[in-house]
Symmetry: C2
Subunit: 120 residues, 2 copies
């Protein structure tokens, strides 16, 4: 039951597109990720995914539109909806989703698929 | 898949201790609540509960200690752990927990037990 300070946690790592698990509850995980650039298109068939922007600007792109988010903005991507995420400059993003979701969903990418369950 | 802006959502209501559902995913809800004063002692037997402070200062009190949180701090209260929340001045807090959790857990309080499922 420690207090988790988001700024302190984000300061502990620098790499992009490698989610870190900051907490677990009810079969879900709270993950922190730094992003910059464009992530591959993918779909999570069995998991809705929430993104909350903590710092910077962040995009969630769908095949038919783009959602632009800034700090304090939240979006929930329903399961089965293809998407990719992107940021022109580094952004800090929180993810809420079920435990053990692969970050690249239904694809495996040599660069972007990240190890799961990395705690911070 | 609308973008949810936390500041805009918090600006839509003024009452204290009445969680509003800002989003749902994977059987969980994201709730926004304004708090001031001291909430009753209670326990959620079947739900872990995450609090994230968005604005202000907030306490989660346990029988043997007090966790002090400020904006950007997160705490996860495991199921079965008695607690009460408090804030000397108004604070804005995000809650992440399973859908249809009663805010007062195992007790019913004429003042503090809030309607469930109120969307915002």
């Amino acid at each position: 039951m420690d207090v988790i300070n988001l700024d302190e946690k984000f300061a502990l790592f620098a790499e992009h597109w490698r989610p870190k698990v900051a907490g677990s509850l009810n079969g879900q995980e709270v993950k922190l990720v730094k992003v910059q650039g464009v992530f591959p298109w993918h779909t999570h068939q069995d998991a809705d995914e929430l993104f909350m922007v903590w710092k910077g600007r962040f995009r969630v792109e769908f095949r038919d539109r783009i959602a632009e988010l800034a700090a304090g903005d939240v979006i929930i991507v329903p399961r089965g909806v293809e998407h990719r995420t992107a940021a022109d400059e580094e952004a800090e993003v929180l993810i809420f989703e079920p435990a053990e979701v692969r970050n690249t969903g239904d694809i495996v990418d040599a660069t972007f698929t990240a190890p799961q369950g990395v705690a911070i």
